[in-house]
Symmetry: C2
């Protein structure tokens, strides 16, 4: 950021909020990092662990003093929080969030504010871990991970730039796309795989005779089901927040699976080999992308993606 | 084995056959380990790498001399191989295989021999890797992995015991079940997850607008699609070999997914939380099993499984 931050307020000291606070502190990007959590014990723990500099006694007063307010609360809690904060936010305060769905956050903002405030830049760091809580927070969590920003046409361009620079300073690779596209992409690459994993494990565990099936599980199954250990409440909320995009992805998948089932049933070798080979090629292409982005920034590769332009760093 | 093996013939020096040969040699369990492969270069490489002691010049002569013949060839090649070997196998020769489906191997044996020979003990080591070929073979591949034997009522019990002891000597955890149950279990825990992964990656890659979706893939997706990199031809063959059990598993899964889709569509929180929580509990139970079997043998846990009795080691 060209202007050093005076006061950053992080509302919600979970894994993501705590890691953001830690990262900003570790890199000395703000004079004060203030934390607030509905659970005062998490906040005190954050103070003890050095995740934050101060614990906010009064949320409204802290929000009024902050030049950046980061909302790191469950998606369902965002609307009520915006209503609480709306009266005290200064016009220049940069407001952002980390919700894993974006259309519903924007709709919540529109219900609260009418139009989304120009200084509200919705965001989503694609980073997470199986652990949760401030105890698990990690200042390096966002390094080499993607952060997607989803501004609207009315969003202030300089607010987007300032936020992008901050995330880049934390080591993240910042991309920008419409909130609709974000929700489609996440439905396909994260929400659908989780739903399939939950459904597979639940289906197998459903029948008494299957109790011992888990005992013989081969490698493929382990990979597949690891993600079914995720938090049920969080996934319940995601299913509601991104319902339409997720239903559309489930329907596409179901159609594809039915096509594959038909080929197995009919012994249609050509279709089977076609599907398996295309999947392998796509996966290999994907692996190349992943190995590239995990270890280095690849501006050339990024420019191939017309629907998701990287946000230029102010420092570049 | 109470009787030391004089001559082991391994037909097919791929990853599994090569690793079996290496493991028998490393542990000094046979006087001679002889290898045969349709591709003479693989066989010569096996000789150079010390995977085998000798390369069989004449398959029939080598089979006539062997007291253990291990068939480690693709499932589809097994019937022709059994026809070739049938005239020369000595009655006391222990014959086994490593095919990942068992009913079709047994049916192939019945077509060749009439009744399955008493000394043919079908087997399946649940071990594999993304690599293939004799170059990738590894003497430790089977350690702490499961080997499932699927004898028929007419199979010689002492042949089963001898083979079980050999696999145990290679570090494997040997279980026994009917070939039908084996094929059901593998359809559920290995073949279905692979089919879902292939189908997911193919469905996402299918549409032009999805080309860039892979770029944003979050953690869940990576786990999920890693297994879609498997060999298309092998999976084509498995889909034919285990067709009925696999179709049944796909149908169960599709029904379960439709139930979950309905709950998302209707915003049915109770059903969603029920499915996600059951899946998480099942997965955690499964993790406990896995962590147990990965590091230690757990006879108490094994005895909970009425349909799959462990085969006692002759040495116990």
């Amino acid at each position: 950021m060209s202007d050093r931050l005076k006061c950053v307020l992080v509302v919600g000291l979970g894994l993501i909020g705590g890691s953001f606070a830690r990262a900003v502190k570790m890199r000395g990007l703000a004079d004060r990092v203030v934390g607030y959590d509905l659970n005062p014990q998490e906040c005190q723990l954050g103070l003890q662990l050095g995740v934050i500099d101060e614990q906010a006694e009064d949320l409204l007063q802290a929000a009024a003093e902050a030049d950046l307010v980061m909302l790191a609360v469950p998606v369902k809690a965002t609307e009520a929080l915006l209503e609480t904060l709306a009266p005290v936010l200064k016009p220049g305060t940069l407001l952002t969030d980390v919700g894993s769905t974006k259309m519903n956050i924007i709709e919540a903002g529109q219900r609260v504010f009418g139009n989304l405030p120009a200084c509200f830049v919705p965001g989503h760091p694609i980073a997470g871990a199986e652990k949760s809580g401030v105890q698990a927070s990690n200042a390096h969590l966002f390094e080499r991970h993607k952060v997607i920003l989803t501004p609207l046409p009315e969003t202030d361009a300089s607010a987007v730039s300032r936020l992008a620079s901050l995330w880049q300073a934390l080591g993240a690779d910042v991309l920008q796309m419409t909130p609709q596209r974000h929700d489609e992409v996440l439905a396909a690459t994260s929400h659908l795989p989780h739903i399939l994993a939950f459904s597979l494990v639940d289906t197998l565990a459903h029948e008494e005779q299957n109790k011992d099936i888990f005992r013989y599980a081969a490698g493929g199954f382990r990979d597949f089901t690891r993600i079914a250990a995720s938090d049920p409440v969080m996934w319940h909320d995601i299913c509601q927040a991104n319902r339409d995009a997720l239903l559309s992805q489930i329907d596409q998948f179901t159609t594809g699976l039915a096509r594959l089932r038909e080929a197995i049933d009919q012994g249609d070798s050509q279709t089977l080999l076609g599907i398996f080979t295309r999947a392998r090629v796509a996966r290999e292409y994907f692996s190349t992308l992943l190995s590239g982005t995990a270890y280095e920034l690849k501006p050339a590769a990024r420019s191939e993606t017309p629907t998701a332009e990287p946000v230029p760093s102010q420092g570049e």
